[in-house]
């Protein structure tokens, strides 16, 4: 009974003509392991299995993957959360090109992140010590700065699947609002101008897949709504 049935996506473009699913039997010894632990047990059986991982505690955002149909971080997802009738299906994050097995090319995701200029811009002379914020101003950044860019949200978003080159995606837009909401940033108008086209922000249809999968419990849909409000206030 403690043998877990795991089906995992395999693809090595150098040797395989097409991706396929490989079956594993993993002895969990009836423990409620994290999915990442199961992947390591599988790697003991087949050392060729490729996946990304680093901190194994939900901080680095390396091991985002699709577990039984839902995106999440393998290192902080216990089997009891995802396994149905003793079966677990692991696939790479949807919508991004696969490099090998569970490893995807995050290039498009980072390109959209770069596009929103994820750094503080301020054209006023720097004060002697620091740019102060009131506690209330600082509170506006809560729920925004915690994003670890694991890409679970953007790769669960159909709008990002269809237009990853034009739609910024929930992760990028959450970070975009993080800087729009920052009282120390003075590039608000330029940031908004870069977002008013029909794709960058407005391709969001508000289905909230991003909110459903975020391992940090963040709410990109709310941030996108705030960006829309700012655009509307600025242009009407």
């Amino acid at each position: 009974m403690s043998n877990l049935q795991v089906s995992v996506y395999r693809y090595n473009p150098e040797t395989d003509s097409a991706p396929y699913m490989q079956e594993f039997q993993v002895d969990t010894k009836d423990r409620d392991l994290m999915v990442l632990d199961v992947l390591h047990l599988m790697k003991e059986q087949d050392s060729g299995l490729a996946f990304r991982r680093s901190c194994r505690e939900g901080v680095c955002g390396s091991d985002g993957m699709n577990m039984n149909g839902k995106n999440g971080l393998a290192c902080i997802t216990p089997l009891s959360d995802v396994v149905k009738s003793n079966k677990l299906t692991l696939r790479p994050l949807p919508g991004l090109p696969v490099i090998r097995d569970m490893v995807v090319d995050m290039g498009l995701f980072y390109k959209q992140y770069e596009r929103i200029q994820p750094y503080l811009q301020n054209d006023t002379p720097a004060p002697a010590i620091e740019r102060l914020q009131s506690p209330e101003e600082r509170d506006k950044l809560d729920g925004l700065y915690e994003c670890i860019l694991c890409a679970c949200c953007s790769t669960s978003c159909p709008s990002f699947w269809w237009n990853p080159d034009k739609f910024v995606g929930p992760a990028g837009l959450l970070q975009s609002y993080r800087f729009l909401a920052d009282t120390r940033d003075t590039a608000t108008r330029e940031r908004l101008t870069n977002l008013e086209d029909p794709f960058s922000v407005f391709r969001c249809r508000g289905i909230m897949n991003c909110v459903a999968v975020c391992p940090k419990g963040l709410n990109p849909t709310r941030a996108i709504g705030k960006i829309r409000e700012m655009l509307l206030a600025d242009a009407t």
Binding site: N194, E196, D197, P198, F199, S200, F202, L232, A235, T236
Partner: protein
């Protein structure tokens, strides 16, 4: 900067606002028509024709037609840019959609004001 030339208002913000305003107008129009039909169970041609003879009803109806046109253009343009990846096919379908919307709009105006 992402550019576009076949979307309704050439701007995501204006399209988004237009989509919502037209949706509200269509909701009000739909509720009105359904309520009118419910409150007039024995509706005949003369009552129906009399309703559309009044100027306010014609303006209201034309407003709803224009809203359908804008709403359909914005919505279907979005669908084509999501799912049609071949430029030739996408521009072709977009042209057909815009043409059909134009024909229906003129046809609707003719029905409203023609008789």
């Amino acid at each position: 900067m992402v550019t576009n030339i076949t979307s309704f208002g050439r701007s995501g913000l204006s399209d988004w606002l237009m989509q919502r305003v037209s949706a509200v107008i269509l909701a009000i129009y739909a509720v009105f028509i359904v309520a009118y039909l419910l409150f007039n169970p024995n509706l005949d041609y003369y009552a129906w024709s009399g309703l559309f003879d009044q100027t306010w009803m014609r303006i209201f109806s034309l407003l709803a037609f224009v809203s359908v046109a804008a709403h359909a253009w914005i919505g279907l343009w979005t669908v084509t840019t999501d799912y049609l990846k071949s430029t030739r096919l996408r521009v072709g379908v977009q042209t057909l959609i815009i043409l059909a919307i134009f024909v229906y709009l003129v046809w609707g105006i003719q029905i409203l004001w023609g008789a």
